[in-house]
């Protein structure tokens, strides 16, 4: 009875009600079927001297290291306009990790990508009502600098049987305002990266603030399905507020300095 009640209350219908009533809101919804694995909507950039790599690892070995499963991986890459430009498959042996270098994939510009895994032991995860999620490590560099790493930070989407990407980001009738707890005042230039793993346009309003909380300006930006937006922050902006119907509008932030850059999720 208890399990039935837990399952019933954890259905997306109730998750949406929770989100509407702001009672233990959840930033992600459940995929329709638990055989699917979840991915972040990772950012890549091969533009203006940037290089990107993803540390592709056998996720089965992270979940069930005793089982020595092969991991069958599908990577789908979108350009900044949301156009699918590449779909690649990999098989990784147990405990295998490789550098997936975007320069070897013959892609240019910037955009977002997903990484979906499949392995035998997923059945066990299904039985336990859990989902495996790719939240791995992406490296970015320019010239001879170090790879500057950033981990995935969202449970964004899954791939269904028809090879369609479905978003699981929670949205609401309310507007939610997200404030990255970081100051931009120490950098020469700051970029905010927002992307959209859904099949609908997402409208973001961004408010730019001076350090004394006075608003510099606010702008509205639309990101089309599977698109990615790089946005330069206004001069003298101390911090920003990002407003949308998504419960979690967490951006990626790139701060540029004299010799290199910093990249992290806000």
């Amino acid at each position: 009875m208890k399990n039935f009640l837990i399952n019933f209350l954890s259905k997306n219908f109730f998750r949406n009600i929770r989100n509407f009533l702001l009672i233990k809101p959840t930033f992600s919804l459940k995929p329709q079927n638990s055989k699917y694995t979840i991915s972040d909507f990772f950012y890549w950039n091969q533009d203006n001297g940037f290089s990107t790599k993803f540390m592709l690892t056998n996720l089965s070995s992270q979940a069930y290291p005793d089982d020595n499963d092969i991991d069958y991986i599908k990577i789908i890459i979108f350009n900044n306009n949301g156009l699918k430009i590449k779909s690649i498959s990999y098989e990784l042996n147990p405990f295998q990790t490789i550098d997936l270098l975007f320069q070897d994939l013959n892609v240019s510009g910037y955009g977002s990508f997903c990484v979906f895994h499949k392995f035998n032991k997923l059945n066990d995860i299904i039985l336990k009502n859990s989902f495996m999620a790719e939240r791995g490590y992406v490296g970015y560099k320019t010239n001879l600098g170090v790879w500057n790493f950033m981990h995935g930070n969202k449970y964004a989407c899954y791939l269904n049987d028809k090879n369609n990407i479905k978003s699981i980001l929670s949205s609401s009738l309310y507007k939610f305002s997200y404030l990255p707890q970081v100051s931009f005042l120490d950098s020469k230039k700051t970029l905010i990266v927002l992307n959209n793993p859904t099949k609908k346009n997402i409208k973001y309003m961004i408010k730019f603030f001076y350090s004394n909380n006075i608003i510099i300006k606010s702008n509205t930006y639309n990101i089309s399905e599977f698109g990615t937006l790089e946005l330069s922050v206004e001069y003298k902006t101390a911090y920003v507020n990002i407003i949308s119907n998504l419960l979690l509008s967490r951006p990626i932030i790139i701060k540029k300095y004299k010799t290199y850059f910093d990249i992290f999720h806000g």
Binding site: S10, L22, F27, K30, I38, M55, T57, L59, S61, Q62, A63, P65, D66, F95, T97, I98, D99, I125, K128, N129, S130, F131, M132, A133, E134, R135, G136, Y137, G139, K141, L144, G145, V146, W147, N148, F149, H151, Y155, Y174, F176, S177, Y178, L179, P180, Q181, V182, S183, L185, D186, N213, A238, Y239, L247, L248, R250, Y257, T259, Y260, D262, F264
Partner: protein, 258 residues
């Protein structure tokens, strides 16, 4: 109550800084009242906590603290900090939930110099300080290159000010122990990994400690300090969502502790 920290790398010519905000990331999901707070910095001198009141952070503002501006008594120490009520004194065992929010109330924790900076949005979760932690951190972020230096950083904070030793072992994916290092509680432990340049072939290194844990961070820099990287690894359960995710953490830790 979340705690935050400054990563002191003055020995290699780097500074540390932290942005502290006195407002949560999503106001709509935060039920408590935002109010002025005291910023308290503290460290252990092996037997007791020493603290320093940095100043007041007004509600809905932020402050950047740079280690260059700290008083001498904090120089070279593992400095932690938190937000305290204006009328209260330092108490590591306070039960305030002020910086507990959804999503997590974080600070931008930076290592920097005049050329560049690297950072991550981080916190030391308050519930860690009363727990006997352990550690399994699988990192693909160690970069092998003669012109780079890599450091493993393990931040540990415990309610007891005593500084105790514990061991961290470094393994490859085949479970071969490559190294063993002594770390300390209530310390921002740093370990240079450069002697690994010639011995590792795996992309993934595993850092484990059965008795203690904390927040594992990976820092890389060009030897001329002109480019840097800082990031943490996910806890094992972060690869799962929904259901009993802690069960998977247990599987993984059992495997790596065997």
């Amino acid at each position: 109550m979340n705690y935050y920290f400054l990563i002191d790398f003055s020995e290699i010519g780097l500074n540390s800084a932290i942005d502290i905000f006195n407002f949560p990331p999503i106001q709509k999901l935060y039920k408590k009242k935002i109010e002025d707070k005291k910023i308290i910095l503290f460290y252990s001198d092996e037997n007791k906590w020493n603290f320093y009141e940095y100043g007041i952070i007004k509600k809905n503002t932020f402050i950047t603290i740079n280690n260059k501006n700290l008083p001498n008594k904090l120089v070279g120490k593992s400095v932690f900090l938190y937000l305290e009520d204006i009328d209260k004194n330092f108490n590591i065992n306070n039960n305030s939930k002020y910086t507990e929010s959804v999503p997590e109330w974080r600070c931008n924790i930076r290592i920097q110099n005049e050329n560049t900076s690297c950072s991550y949005q981080g916190e030391y979760p308050g519930f860690f300080i009363k727990k006997n932690l352990s550690l399994v951190s699988c990192s693909p972020m160690v970069q092998i290159n003669d012109n780079l230096e890599n450091y493993f950083i393990l931040v540990n904070l415990n309610i007891n000010p005593k500084i105790e030793e514990f061991k961290v072992e470094i393994l490859d994916a085949k479970k071969q122990i490559l190294d063993c290092v002594t770390f300390y509680t209530n310390t921002i432990n740093k370990y240079n990994l450069n002697h690994f340049n010639n011995i590792i072939s795996d992309k993934m290194l595993i850092f484990r400690s059965i008795k203690k844990g904390g927040v594992p961070l990976y820092f890389s820099r060009n030897i001329d300090n002109k480019s840097m990287s800082l990031e943490h690894t996910h806890p094992p359960q972060a690869y799962f969502i929904f259901g009993d995710t802690l069960k998977y953490q247990k599987y993984k830790k059992n495997f790596w502790f065997k």
